[in-house]
C-alpha cells in the first residue's frame, strides 16, 4: 500500500476515523480472550520454540564443557556472548525510550505502540541478562558480583566496570519488568472483567491485583506510572553508558575512548527503534490494528531511527578521527586494521547498515513503504550486532602486545547461542502476543476521549 499524500491533518492522525473506545477495547481484548489462535501464530511460535531448543542445547553443552566450546581465544577473551549482551540490551532500550521518554513528553503517538515496545524490552532484557552470566568461566558463581554480606567479608571490586554493569543490568531488568507490569494492570483488569472462561477469569483476576478502576486507584496509578517513567528514562541512558564503560574502562586501544557512553546510548536507541519497527509493521496487519497504529506511527518511528542513525554516524566519524588527531600509534593501528584488515568486511557492513542505508528515510515515500522500512530496520538490527562484534573482537585483536595478535573465529556453538537467544526472545514474545493485550486499551480510550474533546471544540 503506498502512502496517500493527504492533508497535514491526515498525516498526523494517530487514530483512524471510526475507531471508538468501545471498538478498541472489544477488538484488543477479543484478540486475547475470544479469537482462535491463528495459523501464523502456531508457525511462528513453532519456529521460535525450535530456536529456543537450540539455545537450551547450546547452553547445556556450555555448562557441561566450559566456555572453550566458543571461539574465544587468547588474546580475544571476549566474543559473541558480550556482543550478544550489548546487542540485546541495546534493543531493549527501544521499549523504554518509547514508553518512558515519550510518556514524559506526552507524545500522542506513543499510546498505541508502547505495549509492543515494552513487551519487546522485557524479553530483550531477559536475553541480555543471560549473556554475561553464561559468559563467565564459572557461571555458577555469578552472584559473587553482587555485594552481599558474607562470612569472609569479601566485597566486589567497586572500581570494576563489570561490577557497575552487573548493578546496572540488575536495576534495568527489575525496572523494565515492573514498569511493564504496572502499565498492564488496568488492561489485565479489563480482561478479567470481559473473560467468559473460568481459567481466564482466575488468571487475569490474579494478575490484575484487585484493580477496581476507582478514582483512588487511578490517582495512585498515575503517580506510580509517572514516577516509573521519570526513573526509567534516565536509566536507559545510564545503563548504556555503563555498557560503554565496560569497554572504555579498559585500556585496550579501540576501547579506551571517552565518547563510548553516548556512543552506546545512540547505538542502543537506533537498534531499539529498529526492532520496534520490525515488530510493529507486521503486527498492525496481523492483529488488525491498522486503525490505531497508523502511518503516523510508522513515520515517527522511522524518523526516530533516522535521527539515531545520524547521531551514531557522528560517533563513527569521531571513532576514526580521534586516533589520528591524538596521534596515538596503537589506536591508529586498531583503526587502520578495522578499515583495511581482517575485520574490514564486518566494519564496512556496519557502516553501510547503520549509517548509510537509513539515510533513505529522508524521503517520506520510502519511509512509509513498510516492506522497505522493515528491511532497513532489519539491516540496522543486524548492523548493530555487527557493530558490537567489531568493537569487542576488532579491538582485542590489535592489542598492545604485537606478539600476541591473533584473530577470533566463531564456532558453531557461538552461532547456536546467538540464534538460540533470538529463539528465546521470539518464544517469549509469541507467548505474550497470545496472552497479553498488545495495545494499551486504557491509554487508547483516554487518547480517543482527548481527541474527541479536541475535535468537539
Amino acid at each position: 500500500m503506498s502512502a496517500s499524500p493527504g492533508t497535514e491533518r491526515d498525516r498526523k492522525r494517530v487514530v483512524e476515523p471510526g475507531v471508538t473506545a468501545r471498538s478498541v477495547t472489544a477488538h484488543v481484548s477479543d484478540l486475547v480472550l475470544e479469537r482462535r489462535t491463528p495459523l501464523w501464530w502456531w508457525v511462528g511460535f513453532g519456529l521460535s520454540f525450535g530456536l529456543f531448543g537450540l539455545f537450551l542445547v547450546a547452553v547445556g553443552w556450555l555448562f557441561i564443557r566450559g566456555v572453550g566450546i566458543w571461539g574465544i581465544d587468547w588474546p580475544i577473551a571476549w566474543g559473541f556472548a558480550i556482543a550478544n549482551y550489548v546487542w540485546w540490551v541495546g534493543m531493549a532500550s527501544g521499549g523504554t525510550l518509547i514508553s518512558a521518554l515519550f510518556f514524559l513528553t506526552r507524545s500522542d503517538w506513543r499510546s498505541a505502540t508502547s505495549r509492543i515496545a515494552e513487551t519487546m524490552t522485557v524479553f530483550c532484557v531477559a536475553c541480555a541478562g543471560i549473556m554475561p552470566v553464561i559468559h563467565l568461566g564459572r557461571w555458577w558463581y555469578f552472584y559473587w558480583l553482587f555485594p552481599y554480606p558474607n562470612t569472609m567479608a569479601l566485597w566486589p571490586q567497586f572500581r570494576s566496570p563489570l561490577h557497575w554493569d552487573f548493578v546496572a543490568i540488575l536495576v534495568y531488568v527489575a525496572g523494565s519488568l515492573l514498569f511493564w507490569y504496572v502499565g498492564l494492570l488496568p488492561d489485565l483488569a479489563t480482561l478479567r472483567d470481559r473473560a467468559r472462561r473460568r481459567w481466564q477469569r482466575v488468571l487475569y483476576g490474579l494478575l490484575a491485583l484487585g484493580w477496581q478502576g476507582s478514582s483512588q486507584h487511578w490517582c495512585q496509578f498515575r503517580m506510580l506510572y509517572g514516577l516509573f517513567a521519570a526513573l526509567m528514562a534516565p536509566l536507559v541512558c545510564s545503563i548504556h553508558s555503563i555498557v560503554g564503560l565496560d569497554f572504555a574502562g579498559g585500556l585496550t586501544p579501540g576501547w579506551h575512548e571517552t565518547q563510548f557512553p553516548p556512543y552506546f546510548v545512540f547505538g542502543a536507541a537506533l537498534s531499539g527503534f529498529a526492532v520496534v519497527l520490525m515488530l510493529v509493521i507486521p503486527l498492525r496487519r496481523a492483529l488488525e490494528l491498522t486503525g490505531v497504529i497508523t502511518l503516523r506511527h510508522i513515520d515517527v518511528l522511522a524518523r526516530l531511527m533516522l535521527t539515531a542513525s545520524l547521531l551514531l554516524s557522528y560517533c563513527y566519524l569521531i571513532e576514526v578521527f580521534m586516533p589520528f588527531y591524538r596521534g596515538e600509534q596503537r589506536e591508529i593501528t586498531v583503526v587502520t586494521s578495522l578499515l583495511t584488515g581482517y575485520y574490514a568486511p564486518w566494519y564496512w557492513a556496519k557502516i553501510v547498515l547503520n549509517g548509510v542505508l537509513p539515510q533513505i528515510l529522508w524521503v517520506r515515500v520510502l519511509r512509509l513503504n513498510r516492506p522497505l522500512l522493515f528491511l532497513v530496520a532489519l539491516g540496522v538490527v543486524v548492523g548493530m550486532w555487527i557493530e558490537r562484534y567489531v568493537i569487542v573482537v576488532g579491538s582485542l585483536h590489535r592489542n598492545h602486545s604485537e606478539s600476541s595478535w591473533f584473530v577470533f573465529v566463531p564456532t558453531v556453538w557461538d552461532w547456536a547461542t546467538l540464534a538460540g537467544s533470538v529463539g528465546l526472545f521470539l518464544t517469549g514474545f509469541f507467548l505474550a502476543l497470545r496472552f497479553i493485550p498488545m495495545v494499551s486499551m486504557f491509554e487508547l480510550r483516554e487518547l480517543l476521549h482527548k481527541k474527541k474533546a479536541e475535535g468537539g471544540r
Binding site: G137, Q157, S403
Partner: protein, 989 residues
C-alpha cells in the same frame, strides 16, 4: 602349599601397622618363595618384577638417611594402584611433610650427562633442577632434561616384559637369554650383538669390556640418530685420532660458528651458554672491551646464529667453501681455496687473527667431517688450543662411527650372522637410516631383546621387550661433556618394575638376579678405595652428584700434515636445485621424547611451532616455488618421498629446506601419536645430514600448524630495545624513555619486601628453558594441538621472537621472554569485578583462583597479554599421574584465569625459613623456576627494597627499561636492552 588366599592374607599381614619400608621387606620375603612367585605370575604378570629383591638399594638408603619410604609405598603397587594415596600409619623419621628434599643425580641426553637435583616432596621426586656443582649444568637445565620428570611418570611407559608382543615374565626373558649362553660361549660369542646409543657410562663400558673377554667374537654396535659422527671423524681427519673438543667461551672474544649447536644442544651447551652470556654482558658491567663478538655462518638457523653480531645465511654447499676460504685466509690451507670467497670473509679473518688466543671457531654436528677438520686447523692457526678450546679424551666409551656401525650390523642381520641381539635403550627401527631397512633385517634375528622405557617401533618387532627403568629409577653412571662422571642414584622405586641396561648386561654374564646397585658400586669402589674411607667417599660422591676429579684429561694432539690433500671433496649443489637438511627437532631429538606433552607443546625457537614439525624454507625460496605457510608439499628424493607442511623461516639459507626429524612416531604413547611427519623416511646412511637433489611438489592441500606467535614483525617494535656498543657509549641511556608517571592514588608502601625481576636481553639466548621450567614448577597444563590452534596455550612465560632487517637475511633476531610484569598499577586488578586479582603485602600481583569467576576482563586489559585462561578443564583432562604434580602449587580448574606468580610458593617457603630463624630473606634465597633453569643467567629475581640485591643492581643499569610504561603500569619486571658488537668494517659494507 601357599594358596592365593593365604598369599593375600600374608600381604595384608605384612602391610598392617607397617611403614612403607616394611612393606617392601615383606614383599621381598614373600617373593623369595618360588611358590609365591608362581602364584604372583599367574595373577599379575608384572608382579614378580616388582617383587624382585634390591637388597643393596636398601642398604644405601639407610646409609644416606634418605627416605624413599613413601616412594617405595606409592611406587610399589602394580599398575593403576599408583595414583592412590596411602597415608602413613607411622611417620618415618626425618621426613617432614611439605618440606622438599634434594637429591643429586644425572640425566643423560644423547648419552651425555647433565647433573640434576631431584626435588622430592613426601618422598617422591616432583621436579628437576640443575646441579650447581655439575660442570655441564651449573644449576641450569634445558627443557628436555626438565621434562624427564614427566617421562618418569608417563603412564604410557612399558609395564611388563613382552614376548612376541604378549605380556610375559621377567624370568622367561632371563631364561631365554641364559639358555642361549652356553651355545654362545662355545662359539666365542659369535652371533651375539649389542646395539646401544652413545654410551658414556663407565660401568656399561666396563661390563661390555668384560663381556668381550667372555665372548671375543661379540660385537658392540652404536647408533645415535642425532649423534656426533662428523665431529669424531673430523678430529680423526685432523689429528689422526678421536678427541673431544671443549670450548672455553669465557676466554673467547671472537667467535665464529658454522651452524654450531653450542647454544642449542651440544654436550655442555648449558655451560657454554653461561660462559657466552657472561662475556656478552661485559659491557654493561663496565668492561666493554671484554664483550665478545660472534659471527655465524649457517644454512638452518641456530640459536647461536640468532645471537650473532653478523650472521650469514649460506647455502649448505657453500658453507664448506667459506670454511676453506677462511682457513686459507688464516694460513691454514692452500691459497687457491680463497677463490670465490664472499666479500665479508676477509673482515672476519682479520678480526679473528687480530685476537689470536682469544678467538675460536666451532662447527655443528651437521657439518661434514671436512669442515670439522678445517675448524681444527683454523683454531690451531688462531692459537685456540689451550686458550679457548681444549682437546680431551673422547667422553664416549670406545668411540666408533655410528653410521658404519649400524650399517655393519644390519648387513650381518640380513645375512643371518646375528643370532642374539640386545638393543639397549635405542629405537633403530624408527631412527636407523631408511636405506638400511632395519625392521626387515630384525626379522631374521632369532633372539632379539629390546630394553626400552616405553613400547616403541623396535619393541614390537623384537622377540623380547624388557621395560627399562627410567634414569631416575635406577643406578647408573654417565659422563658429561668434559668427562666428569656422575653416579646416578634412583630417586624412586621403579614405578612399573624395569631393568637398567647394566642389569640386563649382567644377565649375559650369567647373573639371573642382577643388582644394578652392586654393579655400579663395583665400578667405583675400587677407585675410591685408595682415597680414604670408601663408604664415606661413595656417600659424598652421591650427595655431590659429581665424582671428584673425574673430568677427562686434556690430550695434546697436533695437526697431521697434508690436511688439504686428505679432505674429501666438498659437496656441490647445481644452481636451481634444492638440498634437504636433516636436523633433529630441538625438543624431540630423535623421537624418543615424542610422548612428552611439555616438549610437544613447547614452542620451537624461531618458528614457535608446537605439536608438528614442518619443512622449513627461506621466504625467498618459497616465493620462487610459490609456497606459503601450511601448504603441504611432497618431498621427492632419490630414496623416497614424503608429505610435509611448509613453514617459511626468515633467515633460512636459500635453495635448501630443513626437515626436522623426530616426529611421526608410529608406535608411541597417547601423546605422541599422529604428530608430525617422519623425516627419517628420507634419511639415508650416505646422506645423514643433507640430501641434494630434492624436489618439492605442491599437493594443493594444506595442514594447519599450531604456532604460538603469529606476528613476527620485521622491524621489531619498541618493546624490545637494542643498540650497538658504539651507540651505547654515545648514549648509555638509549633504552630509557621519558614517560609521565602519575596516578590519582598515593603509592603503596611495601615495608617488608618488594619483589621484582630483571630480564637481561643481552644474556637471553631464546632457548625456552624458562618456559619449560615454569611449566613443571607451576603445574601448567598441556592443552593439545587443537587448543594451541585456537591460541589457548597456557605457558606463563613465553619467548617473543622479533626480526629486523628483511626476511631474507634478518640482521637481528631478538628474543624477549614475556611474563607477568607485576605492575604497580596493574590494569588487570581494577577491572576484575570480584577482586580475584590484587596486590599482596610484598607488591606481588596475585591471582586468587578460588575467587575467580572467569570474566576474562583482566586478560583483555593486560597490555602484555600474559594471562592465561582455563577454557576447558585442561588439568583434569591431562592423563599424567596425579603424583607427578607439584604439591606446592594449586592445580587450576576450568573457568579460572592464571598467570605468573613470581613462584610465590618459593617465596613463601623462603619466608617461612627466614621467619623461623628470625631474619630477613637473604638475597638470592628465592629463585624463581625460570631463573633457576636459565643457563644464561638472564633472569634475576629479588627484593627491590634492598639496594644491594642482585636485582636492584641490575635495575640500576642504564640499559634497564620497562615495557609499555607509557601506559603508567609501572611494571616490576624490567628488561636490560640488548647490545650488539658489530664489526665496524662489516657495518660499512
Amino acid at each position: 602349599m601357599t594358596g592365593p588366599e593365604e598369599l593375600g592374607w600374608r600381604i595384608q599381614g605384612g602391610l598392617a601397622g607397617q611403614s612403607g619400608r616394611a612393606l617392601w621387606r615383606s614383599l621381598d620375603e614373600l617373593s623369595r618363595e618360588p611358590a609365591v612367585l608362581e602364584i604372583l605370575r599367574a595373577e599379575f604378570p608384572g608382579m614378580p618384577d616388582l617383587a624382585d629383591a634390591r637388597v643393596g638399594r636398601r642398604r644405601l638408603l639407610e646409609l644416606m638417611g634418605a627416605s624413599f619410604a613413601l616412594a617405595g609405598l606409592s611406587g610399589c603397587g602394580p599398575g593403576e594402584e599408583v595414583d592412590k594415596a596411602i597415608p602413613y600409619v607411622t611417620m618415618p623419621s626425618g621426613l617432614v611433610p611439605g618440606v622438599a628434599r634434594h637429591f643429586a643425580t644425572a640425566v643423560t641426553r644423547g648419552g651425555y650427562a647433565d647433573g640434576v637435583l631431584a626435588i622430592h616432596q613426601m618422598g617422591r621426586p616432583v621436579q628437576l633442577e640443575g646441579n650447581p656443582d655439575h660442570p655441564a649444568s651449573l644449576g641450569a637445565l634445558d627443557p628436555i632434561i626438565q621434562a624427564s620428570i614427566l617421562d618418569l611418570y608417563d603412564p604410557d611407559r612399558s609395564r611388563t616384559v613382552l614376548h612376541a608382543g604378549r605380556a610375559s615374565s621377567t624370568n622367561g626373558m632371563v631364561k631365554a637369554l641364559v639358555d642361549r649362553l652356553p651355545a654362545l660361549a662355545a662359539r666365542g660369542g659369535d652371533g651375539l650383538r649389542l646395539l646401544t646409543g652413545t654410551v658414556t657410562s663407565p660401568t656399561l663400558a666396563r661390563q661390555i669390556a668384560a663381556l668381550k673377554q667372555h665372548f671375543p667374537a661379540m660385537q658392540w654396535h652404536r647408533w645415535e640418530a642425532d649423534g656426533r659422527d662428523t665431529v669424531r671423524a673430523g678430529s680423526v681427519l685432523a689429528f689422526g685420532r678421536p678427541v673431544d673438543t671443549v670450548l672455553h667461551l669465557d676466554h673467547a672474544k671472537m667467535i665464529l660458528t658454522v651452524e654450531s649447536d653450542f647454544l642449542d644442544s651440544a654436550p655442555g651447551h648449558l655451560r657454554y651458554a653461561r660462559d657466552f652470556a657472561r662475556r656478552r654482558r661485559a659491557a654493561e658491567d663496565g668492561r666493554p672491551e671484554e664483550m665478545s663478538r660472534l659471527y655465524a655462518v649457517e644454512s638452518s638457523p641456530t640459536l647461536a646464529g640468532a645471537r650473532a653480531d653478523h650472521r650469514f645465511a649460506v647455502r649448505p654447499d657453500e658453507v664448506e667453501a667459506v670454511v676453506r676460504a677462511l682457513a686459507a685466509e688464516l694460513g691454514a690451507g692452500p691459497a687457491e681455496w680463497r677463490q670465490g670467497a664472499p666479500g665479508w670473509l676477509g673482515a672476519i679473518a682479520r678480526d679473528l687473527s687480530a685476537n689470536r688466543g682469544a678467538a675460536l671457531v666451532h662447527a655443528g654436528p651437521a657439518q661434514p667431517p671436512a669442515v670439522h677438520a678445517l675448524v681444527h686447523a683454523i683454531n690451531d692457526a688462531l692459537g685456540a688450543p689451550g686458550q679457548t678450546v681444549s682437546h680431551i679424551e673422547p667422553v664416549e666409551a670406545d668411540p666408533v662411527d655410528h653410521a658404519q656401525s649400524i650399517k655393519g650390523l644390519v648387513a650381518d642381520m640380513a645375512a643371518g650372522r646375528v643370532d642374539t641381539l640386545l638393543i639397549l635403550g635405542a629405537n633403530p627401527v624408527f631412527t636407523a637410516p631408511a636405506d638400511l631397512d632395519f625392521a626387515a633385517a630384525l626379522g631374521k634375528v632369532p633372539l632379539s631383546v629390546h630394553l626400552g622405557t616405553a613400547p616403541d617401533e623396535t619393541a614390537v618387532l623384537c622377540t623380547w621387550h624388557v621395560p627399562e627403568a627410567h634414569e631416575l629409577e635406577r643406578w647408573g653412571d654417565a659422563r658429561a661433556f668434559d668427562g666428569t662422571v656422575t653416579i646416578q642414584q634412583p630417586q624412586v622405586q621403579p614405578l612399573w618394575g624395569g631393568w637398567s641396561p647394566q642389569e640386563l648386561l649382567a644377565v649375559l654374564d650369567g647373573e639371573t638376579r642382577p643388582d644394578g646397585y652392586s654393579i655400579v658400586r663395583q665400578s667405583w669402589m675400587e677407585r675410591l678405595q685408595g682415597k680414604g674411607d670408601a663408604a664415606e667417599l661413595w656417600a659424598d660422591t652421591l650427595r655431590m652428584g659429581v665424582v671428584p676429579d673425574s673430568a677427562a684429561a686434556p690430550v695434546s694432539v697436533s695437526l697431521l700434515p697434508g690436511l688439504a690433500d686428505r679432505l674429501p671433496p666438498a659437496a656441490t649443489q647445481p644452481n636451481g636445485t634444492l638440498t634437504a637438511l636433516f636436523r633433529p627437532d630441538p625438543w624431540l631429538r630423535d623421537g624418543r621424547y615424542a610422548n612428552l606433552g611439555w616438549l610437544q607443546e613447547l614452542p620451537r625457537p624461531f618458528t614457535t611451532l608446537t605439536w608438528d614439525n614442518a619443512l622449513l624454507i627461506a621466504p625467498a625460496t618459497a616465493q620462487r616455488l610459490d609456497l606459503k605457510n601450511e601448504d603441504v608439499v611432497e618431498v621427492h628424493t632419490a630414496s623416497g618421498r614424503l608429505r610435509a607442511p611448509v613453514w617459511l623461516l626468515p633467515g633460512h639459507a636459500p635453495d635448501c629446506v630443513t626437515l626436522p626429524f623426530g616426529f611421526g612416531r608410529r608406535i608411541v604413547g597417547r601423546v605422541g601419536r599422529d604428530v608430525g611427519f617422519d623425516a627419517f623416511q628420507l634419511r639415508t646412511s650416505g646422506n645423514l645430514w643433507q640430501q641434494p637433489g630434492v624436489e618439492l611438489r605442491k599437493t594443493g592441500e594444506s595442514h594447519r600448524l599450531a604456532a604460538t606467535q603469529h606476528h613476527q614483525m620485521i622491524d621489531s617494535p619498541d618493546v624490545v630495545r637494542h643498540a650497538t656498543l658504539d651507540e651505547f657509549h654515545q648514549n648509555p641511556g638509549f633504552a630509557k624513555r621519558k614517560e609521565p608517571q602519575q596516578s590519582l592514588y598515593p603509592d603503596y608502601d611495601y615495608p617488608r619486601n618488594a619483589w621484582g625481576m630483571a630480564i637481561n636481553l643481552n644474556a637471553c639466548i631464546g632457548c625456552n628453558a624458562c618456559t619449560a621450567a615454569c611449566q613443571g614448577e607451576n603445574n601448567i597444563a598441556v592443552v593439545g594441538k587443537e587448543e594451541v590452534l585456537r591460541n589457548r596455550q597456557m605457558h606463563w612465560i613465553r619467548i617473543d621472537t622479533w626480526y629486523e632487517g628483511g626476511a631474507a637475511a634478518p640482521e637481528q633476531t631478538l628474543f624477549q621472554p614475556m611474563t607477568c610484569m607485576h605492575c604497580e598499577n596493574a590494569p588487570c586488578e581494577v577491572v576484575c569485578p570480584v577482586a580475584a586479582t590484587m596486590h599482596d603485602a610484598d607488591g606481588l600481583n596475585v591471582m586468587v583462583y578460588n575467587r575467580c569467576v572467569g570474566t576474562r576482563f583482566c586478560s583483555n586489559n593486560c597490555p602484555y597479554k600474559v594471562r592465561r585462561f582455563n577454557y576447558f578443564n585442561y588439568s583434569g583432562d591431562d592423563n599424567r599421574l596425579s603424583m607427578s604434580w607439584n604439591p606446592d602449587v594449586s592445580v587450576r580448574a576450568r573457568g579460572v584465569m592464571e598467570k605468573c606468580t613470581y613462584c610465590i610458593q618459593r617465596i613463601r617457603n623462603a619466608r617461612i625459613a627466614a621467619d623461623r630463624e628470625n631474619r630477613p630473606i637473604r638475597d638470592g634465597e628465592v629463585k624463581t623456576a625460570c631463573q633457576q633453569a636459565c643457563p644464561a643467567e638472564a633472569i634475576v629475581f629479588g627484593d627491590l627494597n634492598d639496594p644491594d640485591s642482585a636485582v636492584s643492581r641490575r635495575k640500576a643499569s642504564p640499559l634497564d627499561y620497562g615495557v609499555l610504561t607509557e601506559l603508567n603500569t609501572r611494571p616490576r619486571t624490567t628488561y636490560e636492552a640488548r647490545l650488539r658488537n658489530p664489526n665496524p668494517e662489516l657495518q660499512e659494507v
